[in-house]
Symmetry: C2
Subunit: 341 residues, 2 copies
Amino acid sequence: MNKPTVHDIAKEAGVSLATVDRVLNARPGVRDQTIAKVQAAVDRLGYVRDTSAANLARQRQYRFAFVLPEGPSQFVDTLRAALTEASSPLVAERLLVTIVTIPSHDPHAIVRRLRALKPERLDGVAIMAPETPQVRDAVDRLKQVGLVVVTLASDLPNSTRDYFVGINSVAAGRTAGLLMGRFTAQPGEVLVVTNSLRSRDSVERRLGFDAVMAEEFGHLTVLPTVEAYDDPGRMEAVVHDVIARRPRLAGVYSMGAGNTQIVEAMRRGGVAGRLTVIAHELTPTTGRALRSGEIAAVITQNVGHLVRSALRVLRTLSDRMPIFEAQERVRIEIVVRENLP
Amino acid sequence: MNKPTVHDIAKEAGVSLATVDRVLNARPGVRDQTIAKVQAAVDRLGYVRDTSAANLARQRQYRFAFVLPEGPSQFVDTLRAALTEASSPLVAERLLVTIVTIPSHDPHAIVRRLRALKPERLDGVAIMAPETPQVRDAVDRLKQVGLVVVTLASDLPNSTRDYFVGINSVAAGRTAGLLMGRFTAQPGEVLVVTNSLRSRDSVERRLGFDAVMAEEFGHLTVLPTVEAYDDPGRMEAVVHDVIARRPRLAGVYSMGAGNTQIVEAMRRGGVAGRLTVIAHELTPTTGRALRSGEIAAVITQNVGHLVRSALRVLRTLSDRMPIFEAQERVRIEIVVRENLP
DNA sequence: TGTGAATTGAGGTACGCACCTCAGATTAAG
DNA sequence: CTTAATCTGAGGTGCGTACCTCAATTCACA
């Protein structure tokens, strides 16, 4: 038995092709009774629309913009690479992706860039941007002009974005906590560093981390979070300082960027490999440090996954189809030396 | 600028549509010189074949069979579920998947099933089967009759299969070893259990595990592998026995199935939660045990990944296209309580 | 019962590509 | 220069769906 086509449906339902078409594409001008007849025929024959033919006929183009922060970040770099890598074979499937770069720390500039997106030349937008009221409003505006909007890696929970593709930061922090606790047998202190606690991700990671440490690992004392404010020099200085002053230091939890500096500070302090270091995001730096034993574990999200999931979600939402949640759930990956990709 | 079509290529190259078609589809009867002209036009215009239209015109159907072992195995069950889940939305993309069940322990029956696959009604086969000479020969025969063959989860390295979709067992064992060593601070003994050391996977996992333990974790003594020979009762009895006899037991590495029995034996022995248990494959049982703290970590491969990767590879190879390795590399995932999906 | 509105049918074109035929042009060999 | 072999062009059809037009039918309501 061959795959049924619209013709088969028409025959089966005893209606014309035009009516089948009207029903399938939810066009007006069909009685409920007739709709039901067609639906019944569809169910009976197990008809599934041939997306290839449909896209071809409809001249469908999926035009998406990815809005990513600029500036030196290995994570964004790998994300960008994964994006170009994932989207280039998809031109064959009528997918057009443009990348828009935004300055990370200038909300007004971000808003300007978002306003410059032309809704008539675009179907959807994936955004990775810090959470500020201005950005949130700009996102809401994108929704209002009819675009599909997904947030990527870092969510804007109070906006009207359609979907968030990324991992749960609290759970990521909890995972880091568990590894820190189990990897560090001797009692001691744990340093927590990040660029800024103003970012929601950092706050949530810290929350999860602290919760697990308090619940289960009483032998470790978690020190207050140290912030480096995007200054690599400061990052290295601060970490080096703590290492020098705290002989009982047993672990370091790095919640964000700056891992190169942290490793460097540990080397200078002569404690490289002796502290349990848990970091986020698998990058060239963290990969090397895993290999050398200077970082014990990395909590990461697969950027390839992230990007492909975002593309799938954008496409699905553009088609007003339901999302297959299970497939889009991005895993919190744990990488140690032995399971490096 | 719109996407170039074959018409644009014909115009650009100064040849007819028929010639462009001959070149693009590698049909004979075109001079090298003309081929070069067309290729140049393709490159200049950045032409990419519209796969939707191509598949439509060509009436392409991808007909794949998945050969999976029968019998009670949570891993295979989840794999099967993932397969039906992943393939049902793909009928819209002309993908037809049939599942063939084989008895795990009867090589001759497996061979019969493989011989029953009709190459004229099939484009490719994904196989998960134990490694025996008979099976290997049957796989080679499938290749000879023109099918694309990929091995799934468990490889047949000496066969002529086109591709293996799964994880490196040695690396998986090494990962287990690393976690065992780092999670278990006190000196002691480690029990290693599997159903059978006749399976290549088990041997390789043990290899990797032992290597890491020897290299880095001298405080732990790894006991000889205990085999349960697919007998749940025996599995529970053996593990319970070891627990009773070995007071210095600090960890258990479960390389295969039977995790339900292992957990049960630990409960009966009163050591549940006190031993470091590392197991393979995330299943309902191991998930529950992670939550309850009776298993410390699970090494797993994402079955959804596995299945989607196999489908992609089968399709790509059927089209005689190159495989995008990076995307198909299945990660060795580490799951602890806090990053359970 | 008639009227206007709502519903349905018949038929067409188009999307981009694959694949076919057959005639005409070009080339190489004799 | 002829002949045969090789190459190329022109044109066609069909894949399954979307979307359009226009006429025909049915329906609701007065």
